[in-house]
């Protein structure tokens, strides 16, 4: 198991190199003067020249790349122009907000999509199958920012069930002391139920928005893969041996059907991390997505670059975890690896 893990880790290296090269290229080789980008819109020729020197842009391209990599290795992503803060520090402090939102979105999506897909496959052609198909098609067609706004209108303005979309906590609650950075977990750990309620109320709509957006591929894949497994020989044998259908479906079919679903998780994460940016903007969520959007609007390039790199690394790591998980579920992969 450890050897497989090690081998898989090695395959991540070329991907990471590619990611670093692309984020480097995004700033250096493209048309225009990178020093002007980094200096921002209000720069004087003097400050542009300073920045050029400071960034080493007067050196050759390979030298610049070496410098960029060494900066990365030291955890230096440059400073934001508008706040003057190091980008790494800002991304670190905002990452838990985004992560909490993304994970809850994913959990909601799995909790809705997997049972829906299983039921649709077991009762093929029934109303639940049609519901599954409609939900899956509508889910991919709805722009995620539009879903978010619809939910805000319905649950905040019409029904008054949820609080105003103004961030992680309402105006009266105080943030829990930072332990994990996840407000839900931290407030439980410190036994602060008021904060938990407030944080949960703020979180549920954006997480649901993300969940709706990402449940389509999951539901579709669960259904297709359950259908394939249910038609297979070992399920027929299990049925013929007199096992009741609950055992057959949940124990025999489900575990095998989950394999292709786990592989689609990679694509789902690509969706989620991208959609996260839009959802954070709709709900004024203080995560790294809205940080990047603010920086984009003010042409503050270092945070955007740091954000793209951070998201890419996060995505590579998530894909690695998915692969490992796949090995845990399917022993055949472990043996072959």
């Amino acid at each position: 198991m450890l050897a497989t893990l090690g081998k898989r880790m090695v395959t991540v290296i070329p991907t990471l190199i590619g990611v670093v090269i692309v984020t480097f290229l995004l700033t250096r080789v493209l048309p225009g003067d990178p020093a002007v980008y980094f200096a921002g819109p209000a720069a004087t020729p003097q400050s542009i020249a300073d920045i050029r020197k400071q960034l080493g842009l007067d050196k050759s391209l390979p030298e610049q790349f070496a410098r960029y990599v060494s900066d990365l290795a030291h955890g230096n992503l440059g400073n934001s122009l508008s706040t003057g803060q190091p980008v790494v520090k800002e991304i670190k402090s905002r990452l838990p907000a985004s992560a909490e939102l993304t994970f809850l979105g994913l959990i909601l999506s799995i909790v809705i999509a997997v049972p829906l897909g299983i039921l649709a496959a077991v009762k093929q052609g029934s109303w639940i199958d049609h519901t599954c198909r409609i939900v899956a098609t509508a889910g991919v067609s709805l722009p995620v920012f539009f879903t978010g706004l619809l939910l805000v209108y319905l649950f905040y303005f019409r029904l008054g069930w949820s609080p105003a979309p103004i961030g992680r906590l309402d105006a009266f609650a105080t943030a829990p002391p930072t332990i994990t950075g996840f407000y839900l977990i931290d407030s439980v750990l410190t036994g602060n139920l008021e904060t938990f309620k407030s944080a949960f109320g703020q979180l549920i709509l954006p997480a649901l928005t993300l969940g709706i957006f990402s449940l389509a591929p999951l539901a579709r894949m669960t259904r297709a893969s359950m259908l394939a497994v249910l038609a297979s020989d070992f399920v027929r044998t299990a049925r013929a041996s007199g096992l009741d259908s609950k055992t057959v479906i949940l124990v025999y079919a489900f575990r095998n059907a989950m394999l292709p679903v786990v592989t689609t998780l990679g694509m789902v994460f690509s969706f989620l991390l991208g959609a996260n940016v839009l959802v954070e903007k709709v709900f004024a969520w203080p995560g790294i997505g809205s940080y990047a959007v603010e920086a984009l609007i003010s042409s503050d390039f270092a945070p955007v670059q740091g954000f793209v790199l951070a998201m890419a690394i996060l995505y590579v790591v998530l894909n690695l975890i998915i692969d490992v998980l796949y090995g845990v579920i399917d022993p055949r992969v472990r043996l072959e690896g």
């Binding site: 590619g18 990611v19 098609t137 067609s141 805000v152 989620l272 991208g274 839009l278 793209v308 998201m311």
Partner: protein, 298 residues
């Protein structure tokens, strides 16, 4: 497949098959009314894109502060926004821009990804490895995030939205084109073409490309919806299109602030237009796949 591709390129099929394709198309549409609906929606979108700006009842840019934030009425079917502009006219006029951004990005990625994928599948070896490595690197990013980075780096214009949308779709096209070209590289008609003295480039362009066109068309239709979503998402966060240009994503962004005070129509109608357009292309893609590849029909 081998008999039609000897001398005249397969792009010009004989008369009888084209008639049967038409009949098959009619059969598929009759069989699956959803595809018919999608086709109707597509026509509607195309008409709006073509003649929309000439037939709308109001000037999409004309503001009238005395009539701002009005709910839908007979005069303003979709209501008016903060500046009193007619939302119905703006939604219709925006069709052209959204459609054009998606269309051009899809054409661009078809040219780049399609050809790169065919080359990778046909030549194999180093070409395959390099194209594969480029695709993998793009796929290592969450795609929307990469698009944001590209637009930020290239500059905040509509052209760069088109380019960014094309780049993030590149791996999808490479994958399809590569697989399709790979299974045909030793096909009888390719060997026949090679025997009659055609060079590799000529074989790719006159034999392989026309043969995988139907499958690429399905891919184009499926990615059109995704391209529209992506471009609208970018303009929603303030990239590319600038106000007061009517565009669906930016109109939803303009209406976002009014949602919490109950003026739902400003964001709802452009958002719904966006949704219908994406829905239409997704369904159309599924329908086209049924037509081209009946085995994968669901």
């Amino acid at each position: 497949m081998t008999d039609i591709s000897l001398s005249p390129p397969a792009a010009v099929p004989p008369k009888a098959p084209s008639n049967s394709i038409f009949r098959h198309a009619r059969y598929v549409i009759a069989e699956n009314p959803v595809t018919g609906l999608a086709f109707g929606l597509f026509l509607l979108i195309a008409i709006c894109a073509l003649i929309g700006p000439y037939v709308v009842p109001h000037d999409p840019l004309a503001s009238d502060t005395t009539a701002s934030l009005q709910a839908p009425t007979w005069r303003h079917w979709f209501g008016t926004d903060q500046l009193g502009r007619d939302i119905f006219s703006r939604v219709i006029v925006a069709t052209r821009l959204d459609f054009a951004v998606a269309l051009f990005s899809v054409i661009l990625v078809f040219a780049m990804g399609g050809l790169a994928g065919i080359a990778a599948g046909f030549f194999g070896g180093w070409t395959d490895r390099i194209v594969g490595r480029i695709s993998d690197t793009i796929m290592a990013f969450p795609l929307f995030v990469l698009a944001m980075g590209i637009v930020a780096a290239l500059g905040n214009t509509v052209t760069n939205i088109v380019i960014a949308t094309a780049i993030i779709n590149f791996p999808l096209y490479v994958r399809v084109a590569r697989a399709e070209a790979n299974v045909r590289r030793e096909a009888g008609f390719v060997q026949a073409a090679r025997l009659s003295g055609n060079g590799d480039i000529r074989i790719v362009l006159t034999q392989i490309l026309p043969n995988i066109m139907p499958i690429m068309m399905v891919q184009i239709s499926l990615t059109m919806g995704y391209a529209i979503l992506n471009a609208a998402g970018l303009s929603f966060i303030g990239l590319g299109v600038r106000p007061p240009t009517p565009e669906w994503g930016i109109m939803v962004a303009e209406g976002a602030a009014n949602i919490i005070s109950g003026e739902w129509w400003i964001a709802l109608f452009p958002g719904a237009a966006l949704m219908i357009a994406v829905f239409c292309f997704n369904l159309l893609g599924d329908g086209l796949r049924d037509l081209v590849d009946p085995q994968r029909r669901t």
